[in-house]
Point group: none
Chain length 73, copies 3
């Protein structure tokens, strides 16, 4: 049953991408709406979004690296 690790690598890589997509996408959606409502706050809103996106990206890439470990095992 060693193929289970490969199955886990594929499913995990996809799930991590879903998490990053939904999370960063939601943050970006609200950032776009906020920018439209207060164009003069663009840089503040963008900085907030990038901080959050970087945190999400960190966990997601960590998860992808784990899946690489599993895939190359």
């Amino acid at each position: 049953m060693e193929g289970l690790g490969y199955l886990g690598a594929g499913i995990g890589a996809g799930l991590a991408a879903i998490g990053a997509g939904l999370g960063i996408g939601n943050a970006a959606a609200s950032a776009a709406e906020g920018t439209a409502r207060q164009p003069e706050a663009t840089s503040d809103i963008r900085t907030t979004m990038i901080i959050a996106a970087a945190l999400i990206e960190g966990v997601a890439l960590f998860g992808e690296v784990i899946c690489v470990l599993l895939a190359l095992k």
Copy 2:
């Protein structure tokens, strides 16, 4: 049971595409609405959306590469 790796590659590739699609789609939808509400903020909104889309794309492509590794194993 070595076929499990191929199963994981297929499922993972699809899940990653779901994540990127929903995330970037949501960001783009709100960017379009924001641009419609404040046409003069178009470039700010577009820059915000591209930053977020690039981050989502990075994780999703990483996941797809893992699935390619599994598929070619």
Copy 3:
């Protein structure tokens, strides 16, 4: 059935990324909207968001480390 540990590592890594993505993304979305409504409260809103994001990040990274342990077993 020792491959089940690898399967769990991959799925767990993806689920942890989903949790972090949805949680931090939701916090960032509301922070962006709050900043747009009260631009002068930007730093307060951002600090609150970073505290929450750090707490979510802590649990998610703990989960990722557990998955690393499983993957390297």
